[in-house]
């Protein structure tokens, strides 16, 4: 692939976009590229970008998990509920991760073994898991966690880098290796590309889907815990609507909603684009609601633009021949 062709690829486009946004932000604030600000950039959306990593695998596999934000809420509420009942925090953390895993297995069971559409199953999960979270903490706000738990989410480990950021990069490395360097990763693509062909070639489709949804639940639970640790308090409605941002990050990264294509480099770039864009809009004192609108528009454009260029290209070719 020549340098020009590479630049015209989706990742190239994202890179150009990223450079443009960062340049604009640097013009606005000279401290923008400081290590502290960059760490801060990650820290403010760390839970979403952690979940976006596993969502990449799920969407490449041709499914979707709309329930991640509710699983985040659920795991945090399980933690808060057990903490209130006097259960030691380490045990509560394990139980909370377990609740996420259970939620993921539950989704996976209906999708993989019963064969229901993941859109419907995880929509039910989106409502249902949030419902369980509400039952556990009702309309209270639960805080008062031991200080070591709050430090986990807030205190830098080395330099300005917190434990959550370290977890993100470790997960990024693991998922990159799994997706692009392992047999399982190939299976994820194969199933997403052609489910029937995969099934007839003896791929254990059910097992792969089950594993992905279970992992998604587990990672969402982890993200929920990190969110609770960062905020220092848990509410029943925490992380509501995060699925929009997470799915936007993945689709803007060039992953097809129909499965089978996309890569983690694209998603990494799109995460950087969105983080910098949000931060830049924050610098320009644009409110959170408008920021979400812009992210929504970006989500639509990320699919609309390639579609339209394809249409225009085929028209152009048709005219020339």
């Amino acid at each position: 692939m020549s340098a020009v062709a590479r630049l015209r690829s989706w990742e190239g486009l994202l890179l150009v976009l990223l450079v443009a946004i960062v340049a604009m932000n640097v013009l606005r604030s000279p401290y923008y590229l400081g290590v502290t600000n960059i760490a801060n950039l990650f820290q403010l959306s760390i839970e979403k970008i952690i979940v976006a990593l596993i969502m990449t695998l799920i969407i490449i596999n041709g499914e979707i998990d709309l329930s991640v934000a509710s699983v985040m809420g659920l795991s945090a509420c399980v933690l808060a509920w057990l903490h209130q009942m006097g259960v030691p925090l380490p045990l509560a953390i394990i139980a909370s991760l377990g609740s996420g895993l259970a939620a993921g297995l539950f989704n996976g069971f209906w999708v993989a073994y019963v064969g229901l559409p993941s859109l419907a199953v995880t929509l039910a999960g989106l409502i249902g898991f949030r419902g369980i979270a509400r039952i556990l903490v009702e309309d209270r706000s639960v805080g008062g966690f031991p200080s070591w738990f709050n430090t986990l989410g807030q205190q830098p480990v080395f330099g300005p880098v917190t434990a959550s950021i370290v977890i993100f990069f470790v997960l990024f490395a693991i998922i990159a290796v799994v997706l692009h360097g392992s047999a399982l990763g190939r299976l994820v693509y194969v199933i997403g590309n052609n489910l029937q062909a995969a099934r007839y070639s003896g791929v254990r489709v059910k097992w792969v889907k089950m594993a992905l949804f279970a992992t998604s639940g587990l990672i969402a639970a982890l993200a929920g815990l990190l969110y609770a640790a960062r905020l220092g308090a848990v509410r029943g409605d925490m992380a509501t609507g995060f699925e929009l941002d997470v799915i936007t990050m993945v689709l803007l990264g060039g992953v097809s909603i129909f499965g089978g294509s996309g890569n983690l480099i694209g998603v990494g770039l799109s995460i950087l684009v969105i983080l910098n864009l949000r931060n830049g809009m924050g610098l320009a004192s644009i409110t959170g609601n408008t920021q979400t609108s812009v992210i929504g528009a970006l989500l639509i454009l990320s699919v609309l633009v390639p579609n339209m260029t394809q249409v225009l290209q085929s028209r152009w070719k048709g005219r020339n021949t």
Binding site: W110, L116, A120, A124, I247, N289, G296, L299, I300, N307
Partner: protein, 347 residues
């Protein structure tokens, strides 16, 4: 069995069982809540059902074409707020003009979704997930987070939810509920008997075949989104009349209840099957649950958990039970059409 099979389709068995489930739920709540069988309970459920039903009818059209419209909650919020603001400034506007304004605004917003899906070729879940955020964001920005209050609205609008045209079995039927029923009847007839309505089913059940016989798929999908937007606009008007106070958060999360109503009502999420009446039954089920669990005080928090489980069961029963029923009906058809072939098929 044969007699039943000739008169009732499998989908109708499903709708009848949902009706049975609603009756069971009402009996159950009646035994748990004191003074449940009163007109007050009925009114609460009816006005909640009215909003969900009207939006669910539009959603049904969209889902029939293998799409989904997640932006309806934001459309309801936008139209309720916009019409409320206009009526606050110009209280002398004709009621019909106000309704028309809500419907047209909703249709325009729906047209944005429809154009992006039909001609932009962007999957509807992406478009409407995006516009869900965009429309809400625009509303918050343009309104400066002000609230429409009841005392700024004309009297006819505030009194509308209390307006009764006639009573049935000792229950006064609210006019807004009648409006929802009228919408359901119109669209049930339209999707059942008009060729335009059958085309929504055609492109949902087999898009390739629909394209081959020359159906204008893009225009039909566009129309479905416009109708969904228009009905969401109408629901925005009903919401305005029902609550009077409209904040920028109005209608948030409604899309979940509506999609739930449609799915519970037996409309296949992959398009091509389901009815408007089914969607209304789904809306009644969800409205009943919502308002009744609210009355049970402690269980208010149980609502979402129950709702999630209900959706899952509805989808699962579609996939597992309805397939079996259809197979059963298919065999019955064979017997009915060709009795001579019975020996061959039973081998």
């Amino acid at each position: 069995m044969n007699w039943i099979q000739r008169r009732i389709r499998p989908e109708q068995v499903r709708e009848l069982s949902l009706l049975l489930l609603i009756i069971l739920a009402v009996l159950l709540f009646g035994s748990m809540i004191d003074g449940y069988y009163t007109s007050r309970t009925f009114n609460r459920i009816a006005s909640s059902v009215a909003v969900i039903t009207i939006v669910a009818v539009g959603q049904t059209l969209v889902v029939l074409t293998r799409n989904i419209d997640l932006s309806v909650g934001s459309i309801v919020g936008c139209t309720a707020y916009f019409v409320g603001t206009v009526l606050g400034h110009f209280p002398d506007i004709n009621p019909l003009m106000a309704i028309l304004m809500a419907v047209v605004l909703g249709a325009l917003i729906g047209a944005v979704n429809g154009a992006l899906v039909a001609w932009g070729r962007v999957p509807s879940i992406i478009v409407t997930l995006g516009t869900l955020a965009i429309f809400r964001g625009l509303l918050v920005d343009l309104s400066n987070a002000k609230t429409v209050t009841t005392d700024s609205l004309p009297h006819w609008l505030v009194d509308l939810p209390q307006l009764r045209l006639f009573s049935l079995f000792g229950l006064d039927i609210p006019v807004l509920f009648l409006l929802a029923v009228a919408i359901v009847l119109i669209f049930q007839a339209g999707t059942g008997y008009l060729s335009l309505g059958r085309r929504f089913y055609a492109i949902g059940s087999n898009p390739d075949a629909a394209a081959l016989i020359g159906l204008p798929i893009r225009r039909l999908v566009f129309l479905a989104f416009v109708l969904s937007g228009a009905l969401a606009g109408l629901a925005g008007f009903v919401t305005l009349a029902r609550f009077g106070n409209i904040t920028v958060e109005s209608g948030r999360g409604l899309e979940l209840q509506v999609v739930a109503a449609v799915v519970v009502g037996g409309v296949n999420i992959f398009g091509g099957s389901g009815t408007v009446v089914g969607a209304m039954l789904g809306a009644i089920m969800i409205g009943t649950l919502e308002q009744s669990l609210y009355r049970l005080q402690i269980s208010e928090f149980w609502r979402d958990a129950v709702l999630g489980w209900l959706i899952l069961m509805a989808v699962a029963s579609d996939a597992v039970i309805l397939q079996r029923l259809r197979a059963l009906w298919g065999r019955a058809d064979l017997k009915y059409v060709a009795p001579a072939a019975r020996g061959a098929t039973s081998q």
